[in-house]
């Protein structure tokens, strides 16, 4: 449900997200330095690297959750520190912690998270849940869901949010084969519609669109 106007501004010359000279070290170890890259509309970029290479750190830095870094990050050529709200309005982040409250039901969780971003109807929520294979689980407390099911609840957010940039940190963990398929198609569709996806995963992505890679190993 990417909303109309986005697809208009489809000039791949102007990057959506641009990082310049990123430098980050954590307890004495430099994770990356002088890291430059741009993410354009229509990009599906996989951040690769061995365990501990700094993928999670990088994603959190890009989202503005982690501020202990040097360098600049631009959203549509504007420094994100200057206008957080515009950036955050078009950002959707799902991290190691998926952001699903265990006590609430899937529906209540989604209702809240979309209330922060864009209004949705209950029908919309049901549709989204059905699409991620949780039809009928809308009103079960997430505490009573399996690891993978909880992950799927968080994936339903992808369908409900108007965000243009998806930042996904290992979204495939605990997903079964069908779940993996669903997510891969979602990502492909999103970039097809002029969105962009930044994803880390250790598993072999196979998506119909071409796949850019950013490798953090030295």
């Amino acid at each position: 449900m990417l909303s109309e106007p986005l697809t208009r501004s489809e000039n791949s010359l102007k990057p959506l997200l641009r990082a310049s000279a990123l430098f980050c070290e954590r307890d004495e170890r430099v994770l990356f330095s002088g890291l430059d890259f741009s993410v354009f509309a229509g990009d599906l970029m996989q951040v690769q690297g061995s365990n501990g290479s700094g993928k999670t750190t990088l994603l959190r830095i890009l989202c503005g959750l982690n501020t202990s870094y040097e360098g600049d990050i631009f959203w549509q050529e504007q420094d994100i520190d200057e206008d957080r709200e515009t950036f955050q309005a078009s950002l959707l982040y799902i991290g190691h912690r998926v952001g699903v409250n265990k006590i609430l039901t899937a529906r209540e969780n989604l209702r809240w998270s979309s209330a922060l971003h864009a209004p949705v109807t209950d029908a919309g929520i049901d549709a989204a849940l059905a699409e991620v294979g949780l039809a009928g689980y809308a009103d079960i407390a997430c505490r009573n869901m399996s690891a993978g099911q909880q992950q799927r609840v968080s994936l339903a957010r992808l369908l409900l949010s108007p965000a243009r940039l998806w930042v996904l940190d290992e979204p495939f963990t605990t997903l079964d084969v069908s779940g993996v398929k669903v997510l891969e198609t979602l990502m492909a569709e999103h970039v097809g519609k002029g969105g962009a996806v930044l994803v880390t995963t250790h598993h072999q992505l196979n998506v119909p669109c071409e796949l850019r890679r950013l490798n953090l190993d030295k």
């Binding site: 709200e85 190691h96 609430l104 922060l116 108007p162």
Partner: protein
């Protein structure tokens, strides 16, 4: 403010309402979130007749202070789940990354917290005051001062929780940080109740508590918001 017209925006107010509703909903689902502050308050207060003395004259003299101290502790301890769960399941990150002004989101959380843990305590206080032989003419003062005071406790406490939410070691550090900050409220509140029996005017006390409430309403959520950003870092 938003040069990306394509994105359907939600008003800050509706986001505020949604957050408020969500937190209340969670509290309702864990029924004992509603019960516990009350029970704790009740139990702590009743520890004193047991531990200190059950002599009415004695109790009358100390009742105001004890009720206030207990209320203070109750609202301190109920604070723990204010941001913790959200931090652990990642909802907090979602909140921080939402395009909404964090001030209002935090305010919503604080308000719901007060409604859940502060208000019941206020409403229960007369009963406990009675059990401790507080002179009956002081009941209303007790209720009013608590009504003005407990929100301040929640708001201040929120800062402490926000600062400590990232820490593995939880529990007491919160109290250690926050309790000293809340002393003025305690002093004024307890003194007001005590002063009733001395027949002194209470305008001053109310004025002070009101001022504190206003101050903390306007500043504390900002501090909490900043603290949260620091903690998730």
């Amino acid at each position: 403010m938003n040069d990306n017209p394509g994105i359907p925006q939600v008003s800050t107010f509706s986001a505020f309402r949604a957050t408020l509703r969500r937190d209340l909903l969670i509290a309702l689902k864990r029924r004992n979130d509603l019960l516990n502050p009350l029970m704790f308050f009740l139990i702590v207060v009743s520890l004193f007749p047991l531990g200190v003395s059950s002599d009415p004259v004695e109790l009358t003299r100390i009742s105001a202070g004890i009720v206030w101290v207990s209320a203070l502790l109750a609202s301190m301890l109920s604070l723990d789940n204010l941001y913790r769960a959200d931090y652990e399941d990642g909802s907090l990150e979602q909140l921080l990354l939402s395009p909404q002004p964090l001030y209002f989101m935090v305010l919503a959380k604080n308000i719901s917290h007060w409604l859940i843990s502060g208000l019941p305590v206020v409403l229960l206080s007369p009963l406990l005051a009675y059990m401790l032989y507080l002179p009956s003419d002081a009941y209303w003062t007790l209720v009013f001062t608590l009504l003005l005071g407990t929100p301040v406790l929640s708001l201040f406490g929120s800062i402490g929780v926000a600062l400590t939410v990232g820490l593995g070691s939880r529990g007491l550090i919160l109290a250690v940080i926050v309790l000293p900050l809340t002393v003025p409220v305690l002093i004024i509140g307890a003194k007001a109740v005590a002063d009733v029996s001395l027949g002194l005017s209470l305008d001053m006390h109310y004025a002070l508590l009101g001022a504190m409430l206003a101050l903390s309403l306007s500043l504390a959520p900002l501090a909490s918001a900043a603290a949260l950003r620091i903690s998730v870092n």
